[in-house]
Symmetry: D2
Subunit: 383 residues, 4 copies
């Protein structure tokens, strides 16, 4: 699957990031661990140089895992030495180090989603690790939280870390809208399927309907029928399907079709952010030992629940630069800016996202066909 | 080329539109010209029924052109009879008739662009018809027109015809910006090419750079090198390249890369519309006998020139529903709404657009790779 | 369909053959009808020059049919003038003229098979022309004709016309074998289908089984189910299926699987030719007004019937040069020799082959997946 | 690359062969090591059951290498126990065991060629192991060995092991021919390249010329230009190019084009076998520590040299069943028979073939585009 990479590659690439953008950038005399790695583990930075084809990452039986681990140890040690001199370091370099840490967090999540996909294709149905016992089923009725129209501010502000694509903080006019109190559940999604959701073109965007035909979609990714019952393939192997869990592993097209069927729509990213500004970021489930989103438990502060850390929520907003956005100069300008086309923004973080990586202004983005992330659905409506 | 259709198909499909949505809808006893045509000339209306594969339109050697012309005559005659009773017709039916006329205008333009593409691939290099003598070269310096920030209204209002996607009229907050006084010219685009524009990945969106590699783009579509000089393939056959004409037949990716190279950006569609609201719609060049955009001639009312009827201007806005948008019920709901994903809005009308078809609120849309329309570039900047 | 070409192209290409290889070759001052045609209607002669992509033949809306007809008239007239001086012409040129006539006969057959394919894809289900009334159903029992082992001679000999690939006449050792007395019928093929022939991999070559999956083959080409009954699409439009007609429009893979199911095999081409040497070539059905193979009628001289003019019979022989084969020098060496790889020999001529074009040594050849020719099955067995 | 498999897969598949066809077939109570392996490591035996897609073999990160090694140890131990009772075993079972050993030898060679391909794509340019010191350059002049025409016998005879496709021994009439005294060298192949061999369509089969364009072939696989000089990628990493070594890693198309350029042809497989019958099989170079073909050293018995164990020699013979061939009943009938279409026979064994696996009647077969095997060229001519 073209979107996924081997774990070994993720391990090497995140150290490559520190080696390339911190160690080599800081010291003109830096001697690389192995010069070929500069090319080998470059993901997409044309400014740094050529990259192996993405489809060939799976063919790299060399360097062996032990060599990659040695590479990581060496880079880590050099980074620690450097950090001991942190008070002497330029602010710009410290910024890159911070970026590298957030970059590594992104790849921690990708390792989980990529392993899940890989294991799902393996006839042995492997388990990554046992899951914590799931919380009880819990079916909260769906309610709506209203917001009046008005000129609002969104985007990152303050001194904390944020990616360039979350800035600048800016004004946007929002019409009156409302958001659902929780995520769409498996049970609700099954009702869409039972109502011929995947067979009725009038529910779908044109490109979505084409994708349904081309890929033969009939259910979310990882839903499997076993003797007439649905089960899910999870990071703990195959598991019973549970109705009150948030539906996940749906594409944008499926989220959009579900919303149309439900006589609603997906939120705009600014609407989502406005609601999220009023909520406390909660620890995600990965730390709690869950490797899967769980049923809604508590009201969040009177506002919508499950905004953070369950599933990435598809918005209806294409991924675009904010007004006044400018990518940083140099290679790191390629981090986010060049992807601002053809992708859709998702918000909120998933059960595989490190807790400290989640915030209300965070903008994730994937192509509308992508299903291998923990991606789910929250509904919105005009008022 | 998958985006284009044979002229015979366009002729039949536009009559099909009237037969299906007006004649057959109005009279329960309507006897179709040929029942198979209901399927054969359906473009994409799933609600009406199945459609032949788009790629097979070119294989329809039957019905012959004479049969299609007879079909058109019969449908036209029936429409004229119906219109003689117009005062008795329901308002909804009159709306569909009006829509059918605008639909036919869209296909008039597509016939020109599709024939141009077809002829360009023919080694005989045919000419569709001779062009009117071109106006003199005319190189106006580029200047900028500023707009202050503010809450603005865009979208169609009033009783005149507009497509559903131009409504509702709604508020949007715009930051301060400025637009260029005229379109980007061939000469300016050549400077981008001479500055290695097609060889420098840092100027391109990631998907754009991939398209450059995949298709081997090195110049706009229809630019051809002949003994070291550029010439253009036009609807009048091959022709000398002229520097002060607006550049056209560029993709969104090329427009975006050019803008980045020029240290500017493409306009948002609301910015463009705001500027266009203050300009009079001018007759396009098709009626004047030109089949190609011509150099800028006069200032338009103190604002930006060439907003209407030269080339479709790529905006940076993905094609999305306006706040509060709802497609009409039934098959005609498929006209626009289901395409609101993965495409980019273009504004202004081209030299192939019928004059009466152009207006400030008009939203055209194509995929970012499309180059066979008369599509060009206007620049914007933040203030 | 990549294997087929428009009728207009066939008409132009066959005149192109005479213009290029006779008129232009004979007279150094020859002034071509239109110089671009030299490239435009070149099928595959690299020695002559570049060719338009085969897939683009369908895009040539220019030259119009009337222009192609004018081209044919002019070339025909020039050829007639030349032929009036035939006694002065070099033997080599006369040979090329004869080749050009046989070349045109090949395209006469291709026009029929290509039109059949094109019409079959047209939802209007057009008819090329009405068929002659079919002969009565006639179910002769299948018997076997034996041949003893021995060193035999095959390949063309004598002064009559033959393609280079039929020469030289040469010796080949054949083990004892037998051939069936007639072609496999629709009824017999249906028994294979009813016995799960398309569902049992053990009956298929590996590449054949892959083709079954890839294309979803479940019956021969042009077999269609209508309310539970099979009908055939023919050059006279859809028609009732008849059990005693020879099965046709099967690929090599289907012919081979049928033979394996029938505990037999396909003939080697030398075996087929040995049997055919003893039979009189019969006029094919095209001249009789049939556009479809008909049930077997009479014994042919005590040997196998239906050897000539019903369907092209798949052999098990890959298309290879005969021992001692040498292609002619120059462009005409590309006529046959360069295709001697990956294709399979068929023998006997079909109901669409001109009668004077059929002979016992004739070697037709197609890729094993091809089904759009009138291709059928005769069985062989080792003794 | 679709033709190659991971080493881990080869290791498991060869044990799977013994488990499936010997252990499980012999004992109805056999308890498999892991039941899923029956599916997981099935290569192409439809009779045994479904198989994972070939393209997915590289995704099997589970079972881990250690698990595969445990699987091999267990199967090996069970096979040893069984063999201790060999005198009690049915002859048919002993035949399958012998087949399994030859099957494993085939995969020993494939491991080397697949690793070579994998390493060649790795930017680190790994070496599998150091090569033995190469013998001296040695340029023997090319001479020809003639054979008179006659009815000959080819195919395996006697009690030794042979695959089903080498049988039955049968008669074939061969016209007079001659074979070259040694293989074509790098130097000779370079002369073809220098004479524009890859640029002249008249030297190529039509499908070969298409392959040249599609893949951009300009030299054999693993030839690389470094500062204007050719070097080879080998199992010992990149290495200097040497003129007198046999050329290898060419496709059938390249071998055929070279032969045409050299005014010769490739041998028929019966011609090759006739010459080889008179030569002693020599140990191949793999055992001698070479991982690459080496220059010709000595005359072989007065006949052609280098027939065995240097490179697989492309013949001009498509891979077909011998007259009277019948595959064995059951799943093992799929071993060879179903591949007898679209592939070409190669003879002689390569430097990666185990010595005991080589014999004069051995028929290897690959698609004409294949280049990753050690495949080279010997020429033939009609007399």
């Amino acid at each position: 699957m073209i979107d996924t990479s081997p774990v070994k590659w993720h391990l090497a690439h995140t150290s490559w990031f520190f080696e390339t953008f911190v160690l080599a950038a800081h010291s003109p005399n830096y001697r690389p661990f192995q010069p070929e790695f500069r090319t080998l583990f470059n993901s997409y930075y044309n400014t740094v140089g050529p990259q192996p084809l993405r489809t060939e990452r799976g063919l790299l039986t060399r360097p062996a895992l032990a060599d990659v681990q040695a590479y990581r140890r060496r880079v880590d040690a050099q980074m620690l030495s450097l950090l001991e001199t942190a008070q002497e370091l330029a602010a710009a370099l410290l910024d890159v180090i911070e970026l590298g840490i957030h970059h590594e967090q992104q790849h921690q999540e990708l390792i989980l989603t990529d392993v899940k996909h890989l294991f799902s294709r393996n006839p042995l149905r492997p388990s990554y690790r046992p899951s914590a016992p799931s919380p009880a089923e819990n079916s909260k009725p769906l309610t709506w939280h209203a917001h009046a129209e008005g000129l609002q501010r969104v985007g990152h502000t303050g001194a904390d870390f944020a990616f360039d694509n979350e800035k600048p903080n800016h004004r946007v006019f929002l019409h009156a809208f409302e958001l659902t109190s929780r995520l769409v559940t498996n049970e609700e999604y099954l009702a869409f399927m039972d109502d011929q959701g995947y067979q009725r073109p009038e529910l779908w965007l044109s490109d979505g309907w084409n994708a349904v035909q081309r890929y033969g979609w009939r259910a979310p990714l990882y839903w499997e029928q076993d003797a007439g019952c649905w089960q899910l393939f999870t990071l703990s192997g195959p598991r019973t399907w549970r109705g009150s869990e948030p539906v996940c592993h749906v594409s944008y097209y499926e989220a959009d079709a579900f919303a149309r069927w439900a006589r609603a729509r997906l939120p705009r990213e600014a609407e989502w952010e406005l609601a999220a500004q009023q909520q406390t970021v909660r620890g995600n489930f990965c730390e709690a030992g869950f490797l899967h989103p769980v049923p809604v438990s508590s009201e969040s502060n009177g506002g919508p629940a499950q905004l953070f850390g369950d599933v990435w929520e598809w918005t209806q907003s294409p991924y675009l630069p904010y007004p006044g956005y400018a990518p940083p100069a140099g290679a790191l300008g390629e981090y986010n800016g060049k992807f601002m086309c053809n992708q859709i923004v998702l918000r909120g973080g998933s059960c595989a996202t490190p807790a400290s990586h989640i915030r209300a202004t965070y903008r994730n983005f994937f192509f509308p066909e992508a299903r291998w992330q923990f991606s789910g659905i929250r509904l919105a409506r005009d008022l």
